[in-house]
């Protein structure tokens, strides 16, 4: 009897603990979306094994689409979470930076000829060059923010406006097309493996960042700089360098996302590639329950948030919502999140929760 009670109590603690945890927000959003789809059309969750035109097995279905297209966003969310935590601001230039990194990849692969029959360089070389370039642009943003103390949104506005022109300039304004099929593996499927490759790439990135957060002090330092720059300085940290570093890490994330993006179509369109992705990345961070003004962060929640956003996008596409109306739906999510995170509403909610508990207790007694 007493044992049973203990279990019950434990359950309750676990539940209320979960409720209080940050990751509750994206999980709740995910559950709401999943339930909505389950009621509206259960076939949403159907996954079928088929073959693509190259004859390789592929899994398809809405869930696979979400895993596939949400991956770039998840990768960007990693970097964006760190930048947000350390600098208390967001990098709005990631879309333009993806255009630059993607353009670099194609430039290295294609050389001077925009329509080569064979690759002019190994893909790994192209990717590494893109990583270096993207990290340099990240460093540029980071330097403006950390050393010149410019607000992150204003500092990254420079690259936001200039980035796509730079990307076009890298390839002499031509549109290179890669015909080598191996290049399309990164944004599609590796022959014989039916799960989309972007998901694996995202999984590797997630694994790496978790190991880094676990075995280095990056997470701790980032949070302390975000919470109070001065006191962390007094404690011997170098806030300027840590802020700078987070932007460089975001640059690396951008290069990975760019590889997936250009691989999807084996080509690039400078003006529309990864358009407005920065807004989705920031929304992923917000949906993860992270404060957009810096400080503590929860990486897992951000990554889950990214997939939830793709879940929302895919759901809206499924119900034939006009795609130019999508931002409006996302705006509703933002408004909800912002309102929920204000201290006033939090107070009100916790008071409401207490009342509920009391009511229950009274009933039990009665």
């Amino acid at each position: 009897m007493s044992n049973e009670k203990k279990v019950e109590k434990g359950n309750k603690n676990f539940l209320s603990g979960l409720f209080r945890q940050q990751i509750f927000i994206p999980i709740a959003a995910l559950i709401i979306l999943a339930v909505f789809n389950l009621i509206a059309d259960p076939s949403f969750f159907k996954i079928t094994l088929g073959y693509n035109s190259a004859g390789d097995p592929v899994l398809s279905g809405y869930l696979m689409t979400i895993l596939d297209y949400g991956s770039e966003l998840a990768i960007l969310a990693i970097g964006m979470t760190l930048v947000t935590a350390a600098s208390g601001g967001q990098d709005i230039s990631v879309g333009a930076a993806i255009a630059i990194a993607g353009s670099v990849i194609l430039r290295v692969l294609c050389g001077t000829n925009s329509r080569p029959d064979t690759l002019q360089a190994p893909i790994i070389v192209a990717f590494l060059v893109a990583c270096v370039v993207a990290m340099l642009f990240g460093a540029f943003n980071g330097a403006l923010v950390a050393y010149f103390k410019i607000q992150p949104m204003v500092a990254t506005l420079i690259l936001y406006t200039a980035g796509r022109s730079i990307a076009a300039w890298i390839n002499n304004n031509e549109l290179p097309i890669v015909s080598d099929p191996t290049f399309s593996y990164f944004g599609g499927f590796i022959p014989g493996i039916p799960i989309p490759t972007p998901f694996f790439i995202a999984a590797v990135c997630v694994l790496v960042i978790f190991l880094v957060l676990k075995f280095t002090t990056l997470g701790l330092y980032t949070q302390s700089v975000g919470i109070n720059e001065n006191s962390s300085k007094l404690n011997g940290l170098n806030p300027t360098f840590i802020k700078f570093l987070t932007f460089v890490i975001l640059g690396l994330c951008v290069a990975v996302a760019a590889l997936i993006k250009v691989s999807r179509l084996s080509s690039i369109n400078y003006s529309v590639i990864a358009k407005d992705i920065e807004m989705d990345a920031i929304l992923a961070v917000a949906l993860g329950g992270n404060s957009l003004s810096g400080g503590k962060f929860n990486m897992a929640a951000s990554i889950l948030g990214a997939y939830v956003i793709q879940f929302l996008t895919t759901t809206l596409y499924k119900f034939d919502v006009q795609s130019d109306a999508l931002p409006a739906y996302k705006a509703v999510v933002v408004i909800l999140l912002v309102v929920l995170s204000t201290p006033k509403v939090r107070e009100w909610l916790s008071a409401f929760g207490k009342k509920l508990k009391q009511g229950k207790a009274v009933k039990e007694v009665g």
Partner: protein
Amino acid sequence: MKKKILAAVMAATMVFSLVACGSSDAGSSAATGSANAATGSANAATESASAGTTSSSSSGDMIKVGIINNDPNESGYRTANDKDMKNTFTEANGYEASFAYSLKNDEQITAAQKFIQDGVDYLLLSAADTAGWDSVLKDAQDAGIRVILFDRTIDADESLYEASIVSDMAKEGQTAVDWLKSQNLSEYNIIHLQGVMGSAAQQGRTGALDDAAANDGFNLVTQQTAEWNAEKAQQIVQSVIDAGTPFNVIYAENDDMAKGAVAALDKANISHGVGKDVIVMGFDCNKWALEELKAGNWNYDGQCNPFQASYIDDIIKKLENGETISEKTIIMDEKGFDATTITQEDVDNYGI
């Protein structure tokens, strides 16, 4: 003092950008141009190909033209258009041309005012927006400058310009839809990928298909805007495939979106092209798209002619000879290419 230094620096940058633009190739100068435009400098990214450095040597018999265009990075269409302009209005052809690029109407108007002050003979204009041009064009008229519109029309009185050279987007759409009708499919289940809503190309190309849907029993499985964006198109088509709705035609309002759609088809092993399950239609005649057509992976591509320079050249020559232009609006010839009849020559000549 500070202000003075700032002014000096600004002046230096402007001079530098002029020099840089004059000497570098089209690609990089375009990039500089748009970067300038982005900073919103009142000077609206003026690039001069021959002005400034050569003005002292230029004689009176050169025809001075000021060309206001949209940013060449906007699309392959615009890049081809800009290249065509640069190739036609050269000193060898007797023109002294100055170029200004912007996607913003107010910056274009500022550039136009500058050209009027410079005293150009002709103002060639591809307006970013249809409204707001009346007063500046009146100024041009008072200054004796003749205005020729290309590619885009504006909401202004016809007397303010000499001619307007445009594509008839509705006709492009009609040509494509007529071609589709001529395929005599037993049923038409169409995925319709639209451009940015409200643009002239979107309205024209959508209009014809909408009519066909209303009158000829075409079934639009989905009608969505992918905003000229290949990735969005891929997601929309993916969504239709995931839902399991049958379709046999993809009507994409530009090549990029058709490419995105085809990527989704390939993933799901749906065959497309000549004699296959799904008919793929695109617009704009990018070179790579025509090659897809020639390879039989796509079925149809409608042209949107970017080569207006020769038409403009013609008009200017006529005006210089004192002739009058009989029609204000000149509609360019535009073709539609069928994968079964396209030749390598077509790819080379019409690919942009």
